[in-house]
């Protein structure tokens, strides 16, 4: 096996035994990216010159010597962080996000080339990037999912050891499913959002992309925890997540929401996920049908709350403090021209929609109504978790779709997040793990959700399933 194709825990073992050096690892990864990324485009790169990667962190710690790839919306001091948007062109943050500081403290080296994404995380396909789309390593004509499609594709194509992304409505889990890797969205408040360029502050959460569940637990150990710089981060003890990797699911109670297995979902996905549930039962878990009756409202609630918060968060991009400025003699025209030219189509759509639902005369009918339905959606989950340890669903109703297939129909694109959005509205943790392949060779993801701060339950079930199936060992040919 080449070094770039190993997991972080395997590499850490080799580093400890002095079988390899960190310099060897970085050089192998740089070579891999140089060879493959002109096809995958997982990274934001200005040219295809040979990448010469070297470790940049001498700290000793649990992640010493290991590179981490970072989504373009997480602030890295002195390293371009542009949200793949023209309006943030050239932005070099004056500080590190808390997760970056924590990774550096743990000994990890941050890659200076960031991973591609939909502009400001607005999208489900990584096609809305000002740097062009990322391609799915399993089929280069397909999307990698989004918005963290670059992080997912980088891990899947062995162009990254592991990566961070962000998830506002499925932006970690859906690309993890499309690319056949492990993607975890933690509980809202588990990981500090300080330094994550905000999309929807009540929904955003930073999370992980890894090649297996053990790496997920290790990376979560590094980035979790309370941060005084984020007033929504929660001050509860962070367990050692590797303690959940027990390979034991006997007696675990799994709820299967009937609303998620409806007409219209891809038949192959349905069959593969049903088979995965049978597998979990054979391992000793007990599965039973449950109901999340307000599921149908999740997508419309999300597109009101998410865009309302985005319209207010994105007001800061006005050509004054950073990024693009289009000159004009009048202040207001400078604002309008800068934002008209700097934002892409999806960003404009969402800002307009959010501004509309918050505007005078429409606030009660849209925004306030959505907040009330959010209460109902959250209650659906609270009710199920009274009797069940977790909920298992498909991550996405379909496997990866073709590049260009949904770009002209935003609503169709929005519906591809139908199974992932609810977790953000309810603030609960959820993972996507590989659970099989379609006949045409595209990966399918299994989503496991648990109650707030139930990451340990999720990791336990995910690990047992992974060890029993080994889907995570399949690699794409690129």
């Amino acid at each position: 096996m080449e070094l770039y194709s190993l997991t972080a825990h395997q590499l850490t073992d080799k580093l400890h035994k002095k079988e390899i050096s960190s310099t060897d690892l970085f050089s192998a990864l740089g070579k891999r990216i140089s060879e493959k990324d002109s096809r995958v485009r997982a990274y934001v790169r200005r040219n295809d010159a040979q990448l010469d990667l070297k470790p940049t962190n001498q700290n000793n710690g649990p992640l010493a010597g290991i590179p981490v790839s970072i989504k373009d919306n997480i602030c890295t001091e002195g390293i371009n962080t542009e949200c793949c948007s023209k309006i943030l062109e050239g932005f070099k943050p004056p500080y590190d996000a808390t997760v970056i500081r924590k990774l550096k403290d743990a000994g990890a080296s941050i890659l200076e080339t960031k991973t591609n994404m939909d502009e400001f995380a607005f999208g489900s396909s990584t096609e809305n990037s000002c740097f062009g789309p990322t391609h799915n390593p399993w089929d280069l004509e397909c999307v990698p999912g989004g918005s963290s499609g670059g992080s997912a594709a980088a891990v899947a194509s062995d162009e990254a050891i592991w990566a961070l992304g962000s998830d506002t409505g499925g932006s970690i889990r859906q690309p993890a499913a499309f690319c056949g890797v492990v993607g975890l969205k933690p509980t809202y408040g588990r990981v500090s959002r300080y330094g994550l360029i905000a999309f929807a502050s009540s929904l955003d959460q930073i999370g992980t992309f890894t090649k297996d569940v053990r790496d997920c637990a290790i990376l979560m150990n590094a980035v979790s925890g309370h941060d005084p710089m984020d007033s929504t981060s929660v001050d509860t003890v962070v367990p050692d997540y590797t303690g959940s990797l027990l390979n034991e699911v006997e007696g675990i109670k799994i709820g299967i929401p009937k609303e998620y297995f409806v007409e219209g979902m891809n038949k192959e996905v349905k069959a593969i996920v049903e088979e995965a549930i049978v597998k979990l039962e054979r391992l000793g878990a007990r599965a039973k049908e449950v109901s999340l009756p307000h599921t149908q409202y999740a997508v419309p609630v999300y597109y009101i709350i998410g865009t309302a918060e985005a319209s207010s968060n994105l007001a800061r991009f006005d050509g004054v403090q950073y990024g693009l400025r289009v000159k004009d003699k009048r202040m207001i025209d400078m604002y309008k021209k800068t934002r008209g030219e700097g934002f892409g189509q999806e960003a404009k759509r969402r800002i307009l929609l959010g501004t509309f639902t918050l505007s005078q005369g429409y606030y009660d009918a849209y925004y306030l109504r959505a907040l009330k339905v959010r209460t109902l959606i959250k209650k659906d989950f609270d009710d199920v978790f009274k009797d069940f340890d977790c909920i298992v669903t498909p991550t996405s109703p379909t496997p990866a779709f073709k590049i260009g297939e949904k770009t002209e129909n935003p609503l169709d694109m929005y519906l591809s997040d139908i199974y992932t959005i609810s977790a953000n509205l309810a603030g609960i943790p959820a993972i996507s793990i590989p659970c099989g392949f379609t006949k045409s060779g595209l990966p399918v993801g299994l989503q496991i959700l648990a109650k707030p701060f139930g990451e340990e339950t999720i990791l336990k079930i995910a690990y047992a399933y992974e060890q029993a199936t080994k889907w995570h060992l399949h690699k794409p040919e690129i």
Partner: protein
């Protein structure tokens, strides 16, 4: 509900975004479709339900009033498109 081009133009002005006529046309149609879908929410029974703007039972996060290190002026201005004498420069606001 129906969303007129005038409303979209008004909202674009509120959002400080300049749209060219083709964009306005296209975005109006797309927003119309999206709002049509969102109208599904009218079927939800929200009688007596409290809104959830935030899922955590957190409020009034306080910290002690201590002076700590913060960004220097130089670093805060480092990304400014235009700056002068420790200030961001913007077009004249008062005629």
């Amino acid at each position: 509900m129906a969303l007129s081009k005038e409303t979209v133009k008004y909202v674009a002005d509120l959002s400080r975004i300049e749209l060219d006529p083709q964009e306005l046309e296209k975005l109006s149609l797309q927003l119309q479709t999206i709002l049509g879908f969102i109208d599904l929410l009218n079927q939800a029974d929200i009688e007596g339900i409290e809104p959830t703007s935030h899922i955590l039972p957190l409020n009034n996060i306080l910290r002690s009033d201590q002076i700590k290190e913060s960004l220097t002026i130089e670093r805060a201005l480092a990304n400014a498109p235009q700056k002068k004498d420790n200030f961001f420069v913007v077009p004249r606001v008062i005629e």
